[in-house]
């Protein structure tokens, strides 16, 4: 009431001054006189001197005054304003009104009294903003404390409450529009990670939004964004460290023992999935809700929140990508590559705005570099195969460890065939390409991986060939090549390599193995076969023949015995192959031997005592000619 009276009094005083005073100075003088009547009037009136629009200006004055009272009360309050919803809405109403006044009067700021009022209004606004910033911070802090959301069970992340996978994004934005709704919506479901957490209670988010709204409108968006991002950044960093992720420098990663690094990679894969599929989208949503309607402030704040954690995550992948190329690391590097690849849509989605774009680009760079690392590992494998020295021959011409290693390695690697195909397609999908897993189409991409595999097989083969030269016995040399060649074909047929290398490759190599078999026969058994050969001229004389045949038989016996002795230490690695080999030797040998024996029987002095001349081995061999399983050419069992 008193205020109202005062306002009227001032208006009247102004009116009198204006009407009486012909000039500004006269009006001023009159106002001066009025001012002297009452000290309360002095201040008010003196500010209004020279005003062109005394009524409006006075109105402004008045409004400001009441706003000042309304706002200052809260600015000075020593308890949190947001502890009482009536207080907070009254405070916000005051701020809104103040903002409206400033907005409405700013066009008139060239007028001195208005300018003076605006200055005071700005002053008041600044105080209100500082208070709002403080309230904003403490709301964030309190919200975070009371909402310790993420629980870990057996190292797995589980969000305990406040998520509901049935809601979707549309409802989200509607809800923010409504403002008062407390329902918590959820982002698009993502495979195993279809949870979005709300790290702050919904009520708090609404409060924060209301504050942010005013701060941005007042031009204090930077302060607000700063308060927001520093709080959330801490939360994110904490979350990552709770997932067991350490900050490791590249050097530390390089020096870490491989087994430890394997564990670290496991942890990283879990953490990066949680970060990209749950934490970042949750932060994005929180940010969008708090800064709803201010997309630029939202984008900037979100970038500030996620930048550090993202760089930390990417740095680790980067350290892996420039780490050792030792072939046994392939499988883990493949895991890292696959993880980043599978997360590319998430990187795209979550870092799509202008401020975050560099993070997305960085993730692509590092993803590509992981691909290079994988190619590097294969190159390393090639080098190792190529340069593996022929030190000592494997005893008995058996399987060389390199064959076993390389084949099992490739077989294991080909379980990740689809990734490898992607890696070996020369240019990975350019940035902006939407589907990172599109390379499923085998017909288009398998060729480079096929070429790669065929090349490694070729290197292996030529390395084995050089190793086979260690054997002085050409037959053993062939056995070695047979064994290893046979093993290679088996492993190829038994895996993805079969379709990668193709039917032609397998046939070609089966022919090669058969050729080694022929070579083996030739170089070891043909000499024996030669002994058994009967020339027609020797049939002419019985005497000569008898002696010659005896000689031949003796010779045959010794060479046979010798071969048996030598080959008894040789190795055929697989049973079926051993069988085939046995049959083939017998088939080769028995017809000539039977003919020879038949001939011997026709010679009178030998025929009678034939058994005397046929050695133990030959008896056995004879039996074996009819029943091949009973006896074997002296290949040992492995």
């Amino acid at each position: 009431m008193a205020e109202n009276g005062e306002e009227k009094l001032i208006a009247v005083a102004r009116h009198i001054a204006k009407t009486l005073g012909q000039t500004d100075t006269m009006a001023d003088d009159i106002l001066q006189i009025f001012s002297n009547f009452d000290a309360r009037l002095r201040e008010k009136l003196s500010e209004k001197l020279g005003d062109e629009d005394p009524r409006g200006s006075a109105g402004l004055e008045q409004t400001l005054k009441s706003l000042d009272r309304q706002i200052t009360r809260y600015v000075a309050a020593d308890h949190p304003i947001w502890s009482d919803s009536a207080d907070s809405s009254a405070f916000l109403d005051g701020v809104d009104e103040l903002l409206a006044v400033i907005r409405d009067w700013t066009p008139m700021s060239s007028e001195k009294p208005v300018a003076a009022c605006l200055e005071r209004a700005d002053d008041l606004l600044q105080q209100a903003m500082f208070r709002l910033e403080d309230e904003f911070r403490s709301l964030m802090e309190k919200g975070g404390e009371s909402f310790d959301l993420i629980r870990y069970q057996n190292g797995e992340l589980a969000a305990d409450y406040s998520f509901d996978s049935e809601d979707d994004e549309d409802e989200d934005s509607e809800m923010i529009g409504n403002g008062e709704d407390n329902q918590i919506p959820v982002a698009h479901p993502i495979s195993d990670y279809d949870i979005i957490i709300d790290a702050l209670p919904s009520g708090t988010i609404n409060d924060l939004h209301k504050i942010a709204n005013r701060m941005v409108a007042a031009g204090y968006g930077k302060e607000c964004s700063h308060a927001y991002s520093s709080g959330r950044r801490e939360f994110l960093e904490e979350s990552l460290s709770r997932l067991g992720l350490q900050k490791l420098s590249i050097e530390e990663v390089q020096k870490m023992p491989w087994s430890d690094l394997e564990d670290e990679i496991e942890r990283w894969i879990k953490a990066v999935n949680v970060a990209l599929r749950i934490l970042f989208p949750s932060e994005r949503r929180l940010c969008d809700r708090v800064f709803f309607g201010f997309s630029s402030a939202a984008d900037l704040s979100f970038m500030e929140v996620c930048r550090g954690s993202t760089i930390q995550l990417l740095n680790f992948a980067d350290a892996i990508s420039i780490g050792s190329r030792a072939p046994e690391r392939l499988f883990k590097v493949l895991d890292v590559f696959e993880t980043v690849r599978d997360l590319m849509p998430e990187f795209d989605a979550v870092f799509s705005d202008q401020y975050c774009f560099f993070l997305r680009n960085e993730s692509i760079t590092i993803w590509k570099r992981l691909g290079e690392a994988i190619r590097g590992i294969f190159m390393e494998l090639e080098n190792l195969i190529h340069r593996d020295p022929a030190k000592a021959a494997v005893p008995g011409g058996g399987l060389h460890p390199i064959t076993r290693y390389v084949m099992n390695y490739l077989r294991a690697a080909c379980r990740s065939r689809q990734i490898l195909e992607q890696v070996f397609v020369e240019s990975i999908a350019p940035p902006g390409g939407s589907d990172y897993r599109k390379l499923d189409d085998r017909s288009m991409s398998s060729s480079s991986l096929s070429v790669q595999m065929a090349w490694i097989m070729e290197l292996l083969e030529s390395n084995l060939e050089s190793k086979s030269r260690m054997y002085r016995d050409p037959a053993l040399c062939s056995v070695f090549m047979m064994n290893n060649g046979r093993y290679i074909i088996q492993k190829v047929k038994d895996s993805e390599l079969e379709s990668l290398l193709g039917e032609d490759w397998i046939q070609k190599h089966s022919r090669k193995v058969r050729q080694y078999l022929v070579n083996y026969q030739r170089s070891s058994w043909n000499k024996v076969l030669g002994v058994l050969k009967l020339d027609n001229s020797s049939l002419a004389s019985n005497v000569v023949t008898s002696e010659a045949l005896k000689e031949k038989l003796k010779l045959f016996n010794t060479s046979f015995e010798e071969i048996c002795k030598t080959q008894s230490t040789w190795v055929i690695f697989d049973e079926q192959f051993r069988e085939e080999l046995r049959i083939s030797v017998v088939r080769n040998l028995s017809p000539a031997y039977c003919t020879f024996l038949g001939r011997l029987q026709t010679v009178p002095d030998i025929g009678k005592h034939l058994e005397k001349y046929i050695s133990y081995y030959l008896k056995a061999a004879f039996v074996f000619a009819r029943n091949p399983v009973a006896y074997i050419t002296p290949m040992n069992l492995m």
Binding site: D122, Q126, Y220, K247, E251, R325, E372, L384, Y405
Partner: protein, 398 residues
């Protein structure tokens, strides 16, 4: 005309770097009886000269330009160029990589490169730190620039940002500084704000753990870095000189980055042992000395980075702060003029930082992207020297 250029230079033998190369040439020549310089020799000598030319190009700067953002960018350009030339030389001489002592030299170089990558990552964090300061400057400008009038409210707003800025910079200087120290610096104005603000200015360090130290990292890069001996030069066909050159460049550039830009546990005590006879030694040592002098200046001794722009931010912020403290309202015209002048200073610093940081970060990213080239290259050649490891591989399922 590179060939004539080369002849002119090789005729002079005026320096150690080249005479080092000539040791090997004499050897080769005596055996091969040829006076024609090989392509490789040419390449190596050109490299020496180019490194020297490039660093000489960085020398003629006034002390106000040395360590400015634009100068640091030039330095990184020089580094990237040297790195690329070095890469080409190594690539052209792959066949030497697995021979002793080249394999050892390259593996040492690769370790240095890995260490340098971590420095670059830390420097990136430092750039981000400067960006945070830039944001506070932006608030100050928001408050005081382009306003209808400069009211008390605007000053309080600017003042708060300035205090946050100072805390941020101080926090970077001594991350373990006591609160008492902070209160001494800022206590006059806004004691109660200090405690609150501290939490929001924890130094941003994402790449490395808290224990990581730039000073130690630099020392590690410099460890055992010595000019190659005659027999090493001969055995490597002169490549050892190139490796030593590139290692020294790497060390110096990393050292200069650490000197300029905030990062965890800065320290500039790294020693440089570069024989003066190398053509590029003089400019590098001279730059080293000048930067070291800069770091010893009274007002820079405790700086969180010797970057000129950081110094300017500090200076402008302090002056603005003092001015803001001395101001009475209503503002006299004279004071307002002062404020406008200070604001103008701030605008200039702000612009310099705004325009310089992004390109610098991009360059750094280039270093990070192209750096790993050697490392993979080295790792491969290092592994190749392992005779046969197949025997140790346990991946043998039958």
């Amino acid at each position: 005309m590179p060939s004539t250029d080369y002849q002119g230079v090789s005729a002079s033998f005026s320096n150690f770097g080249r005479s080092i190369l000539s040791i090997r040439r004499d050897q080769v020549h005596s055996m091969e009886n040829t006076h024609e310089a090989t392509r490789q020799e040419f390449e190596l000598e050109t490299f020496q000269r180019q490194v020297a030319d490039r660093f000489n190009g960085l020398l003629p700067v006034g002390s106000d330009e040395l360590l400015s953002l634009s100068w640091v960018r030039k330095l990184l350009d020089v580094f990237l160029c040297c790195q690329e030339e070095f890469r080409v030389i190594m690539f052209n001489n792959k066949e030497y990589m697995n021979r002793t002592p080249m394999d050892r030299l390259m593996s040492e170089f690769s370790e240095r490169s890995v260490k340098a990558l971590d420095v670059c990552n830390a420097i990136r964090d430092g750039i981000e730190q400067i960006r945070q300061w830039k944001k506070q400057l932006e608030i100050v400008l928001c408050a005081l620039d382009n306003q209808r009038s400069l009211g008390e409210g605007q000053f309080r707003r600017a003042k708060k940002a300035l205090i946050d800025l100072e805390i941020g910079m101080l926090d970077e200087k001594e991350s373990n500084a006591s609160l008492a120290h902070r209160n001494r610096s800022f206590g006059r104005n806004n004691v109660q704000k200090d405690h609150k603000s501290l939490g929001h200015f924890r130094s941003l360090s994402w790449s490395v753990s808290r224990a990581w130290s730039a000073a130690r990292q630099l020392q590690a890069i410099g460890n055992n870095l010595a000019a190659p001996r005659g027999n090493e030069i001969i055995a490597t066909n002169g490549l050892a000189v190139a490796v030593f050159t590139m290692s020294s460049v790497l060390l110096f550039v990393m050292w200069a980055l650490v000197a300029a830009i905030p990062c965890q546990d800065r320290g500039l005590q790294t020693h440089f042992y570069i024989p003066r006879q190398f053509t590029w030694a003089a400019p590098i040592l001279s730059l080293h000395e000048r930067i070291l002098e800069e770091s010893k200046k009274r007002d820079r001794r405790n700086a969180c980075g010797l970057l000129k722009e950081i110094h300017q931010i500090e200076k402008c912020a302090r002056r603005m702060n003092e001015l803001a403290d001395s101001i009475q309202f209503p503002l006299t015209e004279e004071k307002e003029g002062d404020v406008r002048q200070r604001v103008q200073e701030l605008v200039e610093v702000f612009k310099a930082v705004k325009d310089g940081l992004d390109p610098l970060e991009r360059q750094l990213f280039c270093v990070l992207v192209f750096g790993p080239w050697y490392i993979s290259f080295m790792l491969q050649s290092r592994l190749l020297s392992v005779v046969s490891i197949f025997g140790f591989w346990l991946l043998t399922e039958y």
